[in-house]
């Protein structure tokens, strides 16, 4: 373990990182059709140009590979399809199938034209093998409330959520 020299720019050389980090995103629009809590699915991870991913993921599960204290930032792109009544949407962190205290945040969406990003952040001590999920719940179903991936012309895709994890210690 340890930082073994800066060989990052040399072709064909694997990068080795001392601290774990990871960035995940989802290019899939996820709207809720129930009032129960829903795990947000992730479908891509940052490219490390040949390096080893220091955090794994499978669907919505982010799997920690190195114990430590982590900063978690999740930024969902929220919106809805129909209705002009203000509706709330909540996001929080779930660790090993247990909801994390004081991690919940709420945003209110007024109408379908409104597109907002709500930052969710948390610092947690995580062990190797711990699984982390970003959860979502909405006030009402049938209005297409959820997170949206947008594909603007001439720009990169706007993912429905971007999650960043950085090991602090």
């Amino acid at each position: 373990m340890g930082l073994r020299g800066n060989t990052a720019n040399q072709p064909g050389t694997n990068r080795d990182y001392r601290k774990a980090f990871g960035q995940f995103s989802s290019n899939k629009t996820q709207r809720l059709d129930s009032l129960t809590a829903h795990e947000i699915e992730l479908d891509s991870q940052e490219d490390l140009a040949g390096g080893v991913h220091t955090i794994d993921f499978e669907k919505g599960d982010i799997v920690i590979k190195q114990s430590g204290i982590y900063l978690i930032i999740a930024c969902p792109q929220i919106g809805k399809v129909r209705g002009t009544i203000p509706r709330w949407i909540d996001f929080w962190v779930r660790l090993n199938n247990v909801d994390v205290q004081n991690s919940n945040i709420r945003a209110v969406v007024m109408d379908p034209q409104e597109k907002t990003v709500v930052p969710l952040n948390s610092v947690l001590p995580l062990n190797r093998g711990d699984t982390l999920n970003i959860m979502m719940a909405v006030e009402s179903m049938g209005e297409g409330l959820g997170i949206e991936a947008i594909e603007p012309d001439g720009e990169p895709t706007i993912p429905s959520i971007i999650v960043t994890l950085v090991q602090l210690d």
Binding site: M1, H53, E58, K65, N96, N97, N127, R128, G129, T131
Partner: protein, 261 residues
């Protein structure tokens, strides 16, 4: 605890005995000196061939010599007794530590084998699910129904078995939580909670699935790896846990192909 109580009683008895000896000795000397006739020309503290010790001098010299001597002897005896006591206490503590180390070694070994058993139980459940899903491809509906119902009952039994294994892991944790590190206990407890909360589900198309199977396997493997860093020599976990490795999460495609076959 019995030996230490009798030891304490013995010490107490010795102390009382010495105190009585001291009292008798000093009293005898004082009384003997007090009744003795003394030359009137001698001063109170004169002490030579013609002058015996006065009662006052007897009292002082007697006290200093006898009390000092007896006190010294008593101090030595009590020091020896205390030293012996301390050695006995150290011995008890050492044997207790050795017992704790043995319990910890046993708990780690038992946890490792039980977690391996958990892996096996999960893989058999997944195997049954694969067979259940493969049975859907059978043309004969009666065969399909028979196979699926048989596999379903097997699945129930296997889920029950997995539950019992996880309960066993929890029992080990409860029994050994005084010797295991708190973070190890909480970590294993968390994984047990995670696995026990996952149930085999049936999809809309009738196929069965084991949700988050790969993540469960990964978590258990990480735990086993961590337990394998335990050294029975110094009874500690190594902090040099392998940080990164090639991804263990296999693709879902493998499972799909397996089912299709």
């Amino acid at each position: 605890m019995k030996p230490s109580i009798s030891h304490f009683q013995g010490t107490k008895f010795t102390g009382v005995l010495f105190f009585l000896a001291f009292l008798a000795g000093t009293s005898t000397i004082h009384f003997a000196a007090g009744v003795e006739e003394r030359d009137s020309t001698c001063e109170r503290f004169d002490w030579n061939q013609s002058c015996d010790l006065s009662p006052t001098a007897h009292l002082l010299v007697g006290d200093v010599l006898i009390a000092g001597g007896i006190g010294g002897v008593l101090a030595f005896i009590f020091y020896r007794l205390e030293h012996r006591n301390q050695m006995k206490i150290d011995k008890i503590l050492e044997s207790q530590q050795a017992l704790n180390d043995r319990r910890k070694d046993y708990a780690i070994e038992h946890l490792k084998s039980t977690l391996n058993l958990t892996l096996f139980a999960m893989s058999t459940i997944r195997g049954s699910i694969t067979h259940y899903n493969a049975a859907r491809m059978l043309k004969e509906k009666s065969d399909q129904k028979w196979i699926q119902s048989t596999i379903l009952s097997q699945l129930k039994a296997q889920e029950g078995k997995l539950g019992r294994i996880l309960q066993n892991v929890r029992t080990i944790l409860t029994a050994s939580n005084d010797v295991l590190e708190p973070n190890v206990v909480s970590r294993i407890w968390g994984v047990c909670n995670y696995i026990i909360g996952i149930e085999v589900q049936q999809k809309e198309d009738g196929t069965m699935m084991y949700p988050k199977y790969n993540v469960c396997i990964l978590k258990v493997r990480y735990l086993i790896q961590h337990l394998q860093t335990y050294s029975p020599v110094n009874h500690l976990f190594s902090e040099n846990e392998e940080p990164y490795e090639s991804p263990l999460i296999p693709s879902e495609l493998g499972e799909v192909k397996e089912v299709q076959q």
